[in-house]
């Protein structure tokens, strides 16, 4: 295990200590570092909370900040935070306008967010939930509710965050988050495993010349494992699956996220984007907003995912709106 670590048990809490030391715009409640909230709450605004396992930085907590989220409950590596932690975050970020939970479709998280929502309900806090399920490799069409949430949740954060910043109501913000969710598709490919500090060895093994298309960000199996192909053909295969689910007309606009899983250099992500851009071009589809980098990782896993959000006018406005968090800044063009 080649990691900068002290005691593996302290991994998450030391990471959080580092984050609070580096970013004074973040703070925590309930005397629990894992209950992260923005230090600059805005009265009357709909609150946006997320949560999930650690090991995916900048997911989840990295998007707490202006124009994005208000709080995040932070779990152990690849583990859900507790219902109580989510509830503490909820209580704190509710500014009277209600709270939207946006998180990924994993049983552990769902169970805990459900429990937290019940607790919040007892306090009279209105909570809605939008559960990201963008990973098209994780289940077939018609069984979308079984799909995992991966990097595409970034678009849901971005759209909902901008909507809340505009002062929209709980129902409106929820509607927009849900629309962004429904119009987003992601597919990933992994080249190597990751190591969970407390476990200390590779989560799965993969041959030195193999890739796995559709692998999940915790090492969940994908659609097909095969020999690593040239970058362009990898993208061709991945995008074919995306295009099979999103029907584009000429001049449609999309937002594109080329996300590195952790161990893949940015140079390669741009080589992948080049091909995505070519394929969109062939269909007359314009990549209106493009982000390339690490947005949802699996520790040091080598690999990448492509997320495509099919824009409409409303989403275009919200996705393009400014945002400023410790891990993500966007100037309005």
């Amino acid at each position: 295990m080649k990691k900068f670590l002290n005691d593996p048990e302290d991994f998450v809490d030391e990471m959080l200590d580092g984050i609070y030391r580096a970013h004074p715009q973040l703070t925590y409640v309930a005397e629990d570092r894992r209950c992260m909230v923005t230090a600059k709450p805005r009265t009357g605004k709909v609150g946006l909370a997320t949560g999930g396992g650690s090991g995916h930085l900048p997911l989840f907590l990295g998007y707490v900040g202006e124009g994005m989220l208000d709080g995040a409950a932070v779990g152990g590596v690849f583990q859900s935070p507790s219902a109580e932690q989510m509830y503490e975050v909820t209580k704190h970020i509710d500014q009277g306008a209600g709270v939207v939970y946006i998180y990924g479709n994993y049983t552990g998280d769902i169970i805990n967010f459900d429990m937290a929502a019940e607790l919040a309900d007892l306090d009279g806090i209105k909570v809605t939930q939008v559960v990201g399920n963008d990973d098209i490799a994780s289940s077939i069409v018609g069984e979308e509710h079984k799909r995992r949430g991966v990097a595409g949740i970034f678009f849901v954060f971005k759209a909902a965050g901008a909507a809340a910043a505009e002062g929209l109501s709980l129902d409106e913000v929820t509607r927009i988050a849900d629309k962004a969710r429904l119009r987003t598709r992601t597919i990933g490919v992994a080249l190597s495993s990751c190591v969970v500090p407390e476990i200390g060895h590779a989560t799965f093994s993969i041959g030195p010349d193999e890739m796995e298309i559709g692998m999940g960000i915790h090492g969940e199996p994908g659609i097909s494992r095969k020999k690593l192909a040239p970058a362009d053909s990898v993208i061709d295969e991945m995008m074919e699956r995306v295009f099979a689910e999103q029907s584009f007309s000429d001049r449609d606009e999309v937002a594109v996220l080329v996300n590195g899983l952790g161990g893949t250099p940015k140079e390669e992500l741009y080589i992948l984007f080049r091909r995505v851009s070519q394929l969109l071009g062939v269909r007359g589809v314009q990549a209106k907003h493009v982000w390339i980098g690490e947005f949802a990782t699996a520790m040091e896993m080598a690999g990448a995912s492509i997320s495509i959000l099919h824009l409409d006018e409303e989403l275009d406005r919200l996705i393009g709106a400014p945002a400023n968090t410790p891990f993500f800044s966007h100037y309005k063009a």
Partner: protein, 216 residues
């Protein structure tokens, strides 16, 4: 030991702690096959925390109080799927045994039924979906029958453990519908479900605990 009293519970939790510390690597490996390898870690943490919390309960704490303490600390300490479901199980069992002063066969049947219903409510899985529920439901049913026929505690738990072992074996032929394992689809066939294994171990440990204190 005819019944488990409130004063016996710390011992039982200690037995659970020991078992889940011994089974840590085994459960990591089992969850690793079609999951994310954390089950051994979270169950170990959950029962270690529960055992410690329970051992600090005041003299005279009721059974319900002790089970609740265990459930609440588990939910905090191990909020993974199984951690939260197990916590829910203990909390629901606590509610079902609000007025119980001892756990005889009837109360133990109530314990497991409440546990099973709690897990079903929270996880929304069906019997046959290859989860924990696939041992919880037969365990509860077996104990309910034993209670109705006036079976003593150790015999009732022994019978339920046989049923649970069988039910666990049955999970091998199922295909996972929930959690991280669901992604593995057909590859889950032939493997026993990790969560169901935990359910089996909780029961077996309870039986062994009672048996060890019962003169043959």
């Amino acid at each position: 030991m005819d019944v488990i009293s409130a004063r016996d519970l710390p011992g039982l939790f200690h037995a659970w702690q020991t078992v889940f510390s011994e089974q840590r690597e085994f459960l990591i490996a089992l969850d690793g096959k079609v999951g994310d390898s954390d089950l051994g870690i979270t169950m170990n943490k959950a029962f270690a925390a529960a055992s410690e919390a329970v051992s600090k309960e005041e003299e005279g704490a009721t059974i319900a109080k002790i089970l609740r303490t265990a459930g609440v600390i588990m939910a905090k300490t191990a909020p993974s799927t199984m951690g939260t479901l197990t916590a829910t199980g203990f909390i629901r069992a606590s509610k079902a045994l609000e007025r119980a002063s001892v756990l005889g066969t009837k109360e133990v049947a109530k314990f497991w039924r409440a546990f099973a219903v709690g897990v079903a409510d929270r996880g929304k899985a069906q019997v046959g979906d290859k989860t924990l529920l696939d041992v919880l439901d037969p365990i509860a049913a077996s104990l309910e029958i034993a209670a109705a026929s006036g079976e003593d505690l150790v015999n009732a738990l022994s019978a339920a453990t046989l049923v649970a072992a069988h039910a666990l074996e049955n999970t091998k032929s199922m295909v996972a519908q929930h959690g991280k394992a669901a992604a593995f689809q057909d590859k889950t066939r032939g493997l026993q479900d990790a969560g169901a294994t935990v359910g089996f171990l909780i029961l077996q440990t309870m039986r062994d605990f009672v048996a060890s204190k019962t003169p043959m």
